[in-house]
Subunit: 355 residues, 2 copies
């Protein structure tokens, strides 16, 4: 049964699904894609009629601006299936608002709200079989926009493609995460694009992360580019620190992504009488807390891994081991969050969105 969208969407379905070729027990994150994709072209100053079509390669000129100037933004979302086979999104309005905020900063035209939500609903109803029940299973949803105009002068494109592709995902186990606290490399500048989900922000982190990997550290916690004294975010996750019984996470600014998981955890902490300070934590404070035993937890927060506990950090050649903490805020908040996402607990903040 195909959902009937409230705006015009041209729909071409696959002749045969490829779902039977997929082993859902051994899914690697972001490698397998569902049968269909959503595509909407921007030309001559307007977004055209959206299309849903079989997932397929794009035909793009080598002169398309995205290849040369990185004019591209994206979002990450998930769809969840509850015990009654109903499909839910989590705060999709946040993702919609953010992709347009990213778009504005990258000089990309904003995408219409109706196209976004009707496109999502139509696509997810078509792909319902790809969304598996069970806590941790989800369909990862990747909306993105790329500049397609055939011109290599360094200026904004006059043509774009807005797309949504979907990839089935199981519980994302990150293993024991050890992090490096950045002292030399930086993720973003004051007045730059760090707050946006701009494509180029990610490639810029790969090399420093490779260097950290070689030291046995999986991720980097970025610090401010000016002094490297303030803890910011991890590039694909916002970061929370627990010192004593208090959580601390950095405020949003033009360098730090306004994460949906981050802001949901801040609210859930408040709901459950866990104090959470939104302020810059200094590297020195963190190290002092690790030394005097008051540092209890560090964890990342993001759509892909939800909550990712960090068991050690390295800074200036010194390694600090946290070990694993029982009765952790990380586990407590993760469970609270997932119970809302999977329609298990009551949703007092109206975060769930029925597809």
């Amino acid at each position: 049964m195909i959902y009937q969208p409230k705006c015009k969407i041209e729909i071409e379905t696959v002749k045969a699904t490829s779902i039977h070729d997929v082993d859902f027990d051994t899914l690697e994150f972001g490698k397998i894609f569902t049968d269909h994709m959503f595509v909407c072209d921007y030309e001559n100053g307007a977004w055209k009629t959206p299309k849903i079509m079989p997932y397929q390669a794009l035909s793009i000129e080598p002169s398309a601006r995205v290849f040369h100037y990185g004019q591209a933004v994206f979002e990450g979302m998930k769809a969840y299936k509850d015990a009654d086979d109903m499909i839910w999104l989590f705060r999709p309005d946040e993702n919609f608002n953010r992709i347009n905020k990213s778009a504005v900063r990258l000089a990309i035209p904003e995408f219409p709200e109706a196209y976004f939500f009707e496109g999502l609903k139509t696509l997810l109803n078509l792909e319902s079989d790809w969304i598996k029940k069970g806590l941790g299973n989800s369909l990862y949803i990747r909306p993105f926009v790329i500049a397609t105009e055939q011109a290599i002068s360094a200026s904004p494109s006059n043509a774009y493609k807005f797309m949504i592709i979907c990839s089935p995902a199981k519980a994302y186990y990150t293993g024991d995460v050890r992090v490096l606290i950045a002292e030399k490399y930086s993720r973003s500048a004051n007045g730059g694009v760090g707050f946006a989900k701009a494509a180029g922000n990610y490639a810029a982190q790969f090399y420093p992360t490779n260097l950290a990997n070689k030291k046995g550290l999986q991720q980097i916690i970025w610090t401010d580019a000016g002094t490297h004294e303030n803890l910011e975010e991890a590039g694909t996750m916002n970061i929370f620190f627990r010192i004593g019984d208090k959580l601390i996470t950095a405020p949003n600014n033009d360098r730090i992504l306004d994460g949906v998981t981050r802001k949901s955890l801040i609210q859930l902490a408040a709901d459950n009488n866990i104090e959470c300070e939104v302020r810059h934590l200094k590297v020195k404070e963190l190290k002092d807390a690790a030394r005097n035993g008051t540092l209890k937890e560090i964890f990342g927060a993001g759509t892909a891994a939800v909550v990712s506990p960090i068991i050690a950090f390295e800074h200036a050649g010194e390694v600090f081991e946290l070990g694993k903490f029982k009765d952790s805020y990380a586990n407590f908040l993760k469970e609270k969050l997932m119970n809302i996402q999977y329609n298990i607990d009551e949703d007092v903040h109206n975060w769930r969105y029925k597809v």
Copy 2:
């Protein structure tokens, strides 16, 4: 006549050239491409046999990492034809070294030197008719690398495409350039990728540049993200300031591109007894010099426009008009440089490279 490359290159030529459809008198920069393109794929840890083939659209999966994470670098070069129909490049070793320096910072595998130079020579010999004689005419050459692996996890790609496409160009007249000196937005961070020709560096400048355009200013001179007190570069050009009879240009660092035109002008200034200081000029110094009449010229230096005189700048709401300066260093150095590029003057530094 096809040049015989010294390494294996698979060559498929067009059945019919499209050169007769092109009006070389009304060329817009970067919109028309020549008959052929150079393509080399990286897979399973190695660059494969390069190919030259008819210029055509690429077939790329929507999950290719370049669309999501901006893992892409490029170069800009030009080929010039002299009075005897010989084709020349200008310091191509600099572009080769820089694309690999950019690649390393973006976690992209370096490209082999022989493929780069043999690819260029073979391609340019095929496209010889597209390179028009006459000072100012050239063939703009765009080598670039994009991440093609089909995977949307935020990590470096295992597959890439190195390509070279070419676009005929005539003298690049930028018009009267008025610039804004950045006070709020930034181009790059300490420890970031500003020194690299990373795709994402360019899209990040489009929005602030649009804002400047609305004020009647064509470009931005970026300042350091920390204090906005030091003048850096213009995003597609390095910048020179002439105060009294002395030139000043910013030193290279991890925020500023090591421009080929910039370093050539510094050498040509030395050759011609023009003092050139390589140091950070402060915004305050610039404004003081504008006020006391010692600021004589500002000009940009880059491959596309060669040398681009700037006639006014705005900072903190104040506009400073420079007017046009007779006997300018800009014109003098531009002529010296172009006479080397077009094989008119002697080439004492061995900058010319015969194709």
